[in-house]
């Protein structure tokens, strides 16, 4: 009986650990299994002159910028020169400019349920 019990506990502990680690494991596995290791480089369309920030910053921190303009617009009523609608003037396709990387690093976007961005 006692041995049985200990086994059971051990199994339950393993299951708990697995459930808690599923998200991490999922990310690691999907990153490792993707053969597209350099998906990032894609030049915007001809209209492109110069982005609102330099390339390096945008590559690493565009989400901070987006969150910042989002909170400005939603919470402080400031809608200035940077908007998501303006982004799509040069970055004309969400498949080419967003989804490619986001699929590889498995960061799910739910911007486009509400914001228009061409496919």
């Amino acid at each position: 009986m006692a041995a049985q019990n200990n086994n059971m506990e051990f199994i339950i502990m393993i299951i708990t650990a697995v459930i808690l680690l599923i998200p991490l494991g999922y990310g690691v596995v999907s990153l490792a299994s993707s053969n597209d290791t350099q998906p990032f480089i894609e030049k915007p369309d001809e209209k492109y002159d110069k982005c609102v920030r330099d390339t390096e910053y945008m590559r690493l921190n565009h989400m901070d910028l987006l969150k910042e303009i989002r909170d400005d617009a939603m919470r402080r009523g400031k809608r200035g020169e940077i908007t998501l609608n303006d982004c799509r003037k040069c970055h004309t396709s969400r498949e080419r400019f967003c989804d490619k990387c986001h699929n590889v690093v498995n960061a799910q976007l739910d911007c486009y349920g509400c914001h228009y961005f061409p496919k």
Binding site: N6, E9, F10, M13, T16, A17, L20, D64, L65, K67, E68, I69, R70, D72, A73, M74, R75, R76, G77, K78, R79, G80, E81, I82, N85, D110, G113, C114, H115, Y116
Partner: protein, 245 residues
Amino acid sequence: MERREFLKKSGVLLAGTACACALPLLPAAAKSINVDSENTAGKKWGMVIDLNKCAKDCNACLDACRKENNVAMHGDKRWDIHLIRKVTLKRKHPAESPEISVPLLCNHCERPPCAQACPVKATYKREDGIVIVDHHRCIGCRYCMISCPYNARFFNYRENHEWPNKDNTRSSHGVPESCNFCAHRLDKGKKPACVEACEEINAKALIFGDLNDPGSDVSKVIAGNHVRGIREDFGTKPKVLYIGL
């Protein structure tokens, strides 16, 4: 394995998860990017609806709102969303009084119970008095709908498939909506779409402006007429006022 050990280990696991979840809480560098158009400062937006000028069969404001804000119509009374809707009313006494048609929208209460209720501050009152839903944050608990005594809130029960105005957002399902006085237009110095539509057909039943500014249209109308909000006895202090109600 000992039970104590088991408890200890699962405790460590839980604590670790909690820490991992808390990581995003670390404050992001606070800096403002857009610094122009301080449209919220010192303003208090309000609206007066002159029922004497509002024609019974006119739907200009409703259509304009649907087009501007991509409001979903599912063809089912249970789930249709009306940021602004018209109800036809009749006085109880005398019995043969004429029918009047009243546009109803969120009253942008000065003391909004919906904003009090929202557990994550997704519904909140902006500095300029507009009560607005932040769809990025809302968890869809619908407590705001329970709290609004005016039935001014609507929930996106289903996916919306229309998207007439691509420059504005539409709502995905799972979040509530109410009129936001077209905050995106106000911030750029334009009037709400319904007000513009009403002016376009020359009815001028919707008068919109800054209640803090004594020279604005809306303040002048309030000064010269008897206006009242709906059920002011709720104590919510509505900022949408009616002439002839």
